[in-house]
Symmetry: D2
Subunit: 298 residues, 4 copies
């Protein structure tokens, strides 16, 4: 029995390749996490278990998908960055987005009980939506990540102050909201310090900076003369191929070597500044996609 | 601290609305399920636990997303159909696809242990990819679903015979593959019957027909004179609005009524023919999107 | 000398197929025609030469592109409709849109001097932009064309009254605009009649109805019982293929016959109602894409 | 008479913005120019009138659309390049492509009689199709243009030899084709020289290099140390904005100044190498989009 009579329906599937030589960011967001955080009693303003779970899921995604170069997470959102030379799934948008979203969700649910012990999940289950965005230049990509990290700071300062007013100051939510309306960062710092003896600078980095997930190679001493967005140390041909956005024609042996170095690399979660040049200068592998040196075990 | 300096990166997000007045099918597929089925020892040719788990996850997706009209699953794939008048997420493709994929994955992992008792999941975790396809007419949509159900039949007949040759006939995989090369359905039926006394017609419907998930209303007596793809019983204005693909301007009261009828409807999983007209004629709510009559509890 | 080093740039070209089984409308619009009409002294409210030129260009486009089923024009815009089963250029959006726009522009400039004698064109030259829109059902397509024809009526009634106030009533543009602000159709009819003895109903059909360009076959007596949007008289298999949106598997002989009937058909420009069912019922070839009967020469 | 009943059809129009911060190339191609060149008796292998007409039309397009930075043409194709920071028509693909195609066609037809005197145009009229392609980096853009210029060379060498074999060598087309099958550039050079005393290097540059259309500013002395793809001489903030792909926040006065410098710039057509760095280094305005210095009239 052939299937030819109905097979024409495949023609309705439309191609969705993302533009070559652009950075691909897949950002996922928790669906209805306001409600979900209430249901499972997340602590305010930040629930360490919830953040640790997000980070564990993100690290697992990076392990399963070695094409991801860096991930950045805050609250119930996570951004996964594929290198501009990435050709995974022939850069088909649906494939890339759904694979990231599904893998993340899978680990999130699987790992839930390790972080929320004795808090069983029940329907409706947590879920995430996602989208892909293309960024043509290293500069644009860095600005995207800076945007997320600045947002993290703005939101965390607000939330820290908001919940201090409520939990420590005894205000209601509406009253606290009103109190903060129109305030600047300095005002919020002042409220925290003068009323609650909280120095915002001493708040945990994980909440102030969000979480950065990368493969861990030996840090590089930044060269004075080299701009951050360049790919220092590349041979000229490689550099040229990289600028074209096509995978360098590496020999099988070289490819195998790179694969192994990626697999061997430890995936780490850090809470550091990714806005300044230093982060990128010391980790040239992020923009170049050439795996760095595996640090010696101690 | 304002975020204006980096916020321009939002302009790189591109709109992705799906065309109005088209049926939306989100089809998800297990990633690397060949390997996964080996890892967890799925029975061959069909593992009832695996299929039941897929169906349970699909039913949960339909419960969480009332905009889904019908779902059809076979093996490690599932198709979810949104009505052509659906406006969920303003029909944004990424939102629709990722929400379905993530919700499905979430339930799949959550419910795993109910179906695979004492078979704990471990990394790499199961995941699914997905894509959306638009179908302009009822006819195209039905042909899509027919395509999947015919495919189910073709694959199941092949797999049943293939594994009979191996498990009952003692052949190796290569030998069995060679044996089946170029055979017709009738040949496979003959092999099953003459060599293994298996009458394919008596195989379980769940494997032969796949699984159909719908909201369960009272079946309707098909009208002799009405074509299946019409929407019988609609008032003229409603019918006209339906043909335009715009949501009829229902009164708040009517909308509330419909919502309740949808919520009250039991979600059922059946293993029946969806190719023939009868299935659609008896369930006019599938194509019309007007909830049917809730059957009386017995 | 091979070109392989640079040829990778072809990979940046992205596919743009339009969805199968949808009506394709390419609408073109004059760029900056307000300024252009001043430059060449178009008569107000309507310049017959300008409209005749638009119509002549549109008819030529239909002659060159037999895949176009119907075109409708008003003022400096024209809509060209490709049948939902059309496979020209594999339905690539850019190809379809640019071909229509370019062919139209070419004839517009070429034929200019036949309609504007002694009014030579000069830089900046007239040009048109265009876009494609998909409509899934016959109903949607008819609504699109109805939308344009209603717009034609609304604009023409407004312009006729506006220019009567100016040319016959001696008003300035601002004054006339103010006078018409907030008026209904009936008010404008009244102004025309009471102040200027103009009965709007007696205005030329070409301005009130716009211009419809079709291939001219023998009109069909509408069947009482058949809905306009069906395809009466089709054999069942053909009808089924038509509903799928795939080209019926016509024999070579049949295809050749159809081609000839299309080529033989005279292209006519008419100024008639295309909103009511009658227009479509009497010209079933428009929706079915089966060429009608060539009228006998008299 | 309101138009609300049908106006819903506008919802079927889909957004089509091109990605910010990418170079936009609109390439147009003559439709059926093989046939057209026979109809109007184009000379072989190159017809100077036809090329001059293409170039004149392209120069007019650049005059009408100041957002175009450079255009490159060969045979019946032309590529128009919009700067990566261009925001014309909000970067809507259809608008950009159709405007270029239509404007080009308009001038092509209008100027025809200036180049083909006593060769009147007749239906079917010349027309062009077009498409837009995005290139993320300066490097990719330059590779695109290099690709076209290398193609020009390859085709022209082939055609020159092919037609020499026919027109001077008395061969038939099939025979000439066979003669050239599998030959390298050096073989064709040899054929031209040994059989027909033609030194390919002495062929006109317009055929060997194609045509480059740019605004003519004072050439810049290339700096030894600066890579071609950078934007030398920019102040740091400007450079940073340029890398972001957003229009620098120029003051009104500055904008006005730039507009005037663009308008004052003469548009020139040249037949020179655009593959080597020199072309770009001496004309930094092409990649930076900062208008250069208007040369003094002599």
């Amino acid at each position: 029995m052939a299937n030819s009579k109905y097979e024409y329906v495949r023609n309705f599937e439309q191609p969705d390749p993302l533009l070559p030589n652009t950075w691909l960011v897949v950002r996922i967001d928790g669906r209805g996490f306001h409600k979900l955080s209430a249901k499972y009693g997340f602590e305010k303003p930040n629930d360490r278990r919830a953040i640790d779970l997000m980070n564990a899921a993100a690290a697992s995604v990076m392990k399963d998908l070695p094409d991801i170069v860096i991930a950045y997470g805050v609250s119930d959102e996570y951004s996964f960055v594929f290198h501009k030379s990435c050709t995974l799934f022939e850069r088909r948008e649906s494939k890339l987005v759904t694979t990231v979203v599904s893998t993340f969700t899978s680990y999130y649910v699987h790992l839930w009980s390790s972080y929320f012990t004795n808090v069983p999940l029940s329907a409706p289950m947590p879920s995430f939506d996602g989208r892909a965005v293309m960024y043509p230049t290293d500069h644009n990509l860095r600005d995207y990540l800076s945007w997320r990290q600045v947002d993290c700071h703005i939101n965390n300062l607000y939330n820290t102050t908001f919940w201090a007013l409520i939990l420590l100051g005894g205000m209601g939510a509406t009253e606290a909201e009103k109190e903060l309306m129109g305030t600047y960062s300095s005002d919020k710092n002042e409220i925290l310090f003068s009323r609650f003896k909280i120095n915002y600078n001493n708040e945990p980095e994980i909440y102030k900076k969000g979480s950065v997930v990368i493969r861990d190679y030996e840090l590089v001493e930044p060269k004075k003369s080299t701009a951050a967005v360049d790919s220092p140390g590349m041979a000229e041909q490689e550099s040229s191929d990289a600028e074209r956005g096509i995978s360098a024609q590496l020999s099988k042996t070289q490819q195998e070597k790179e694969r192994k170095r990626r697999e061997k690399a430890r995936i780490t979660v850090q809470h550091i500044d990714i806005i300044k040049d230093e982060f990128w200068q010391r980790r040239p592998w992020l923009l170049s996609n050439k795996p760095g040196k595996i640090p010696k075990e101690i």
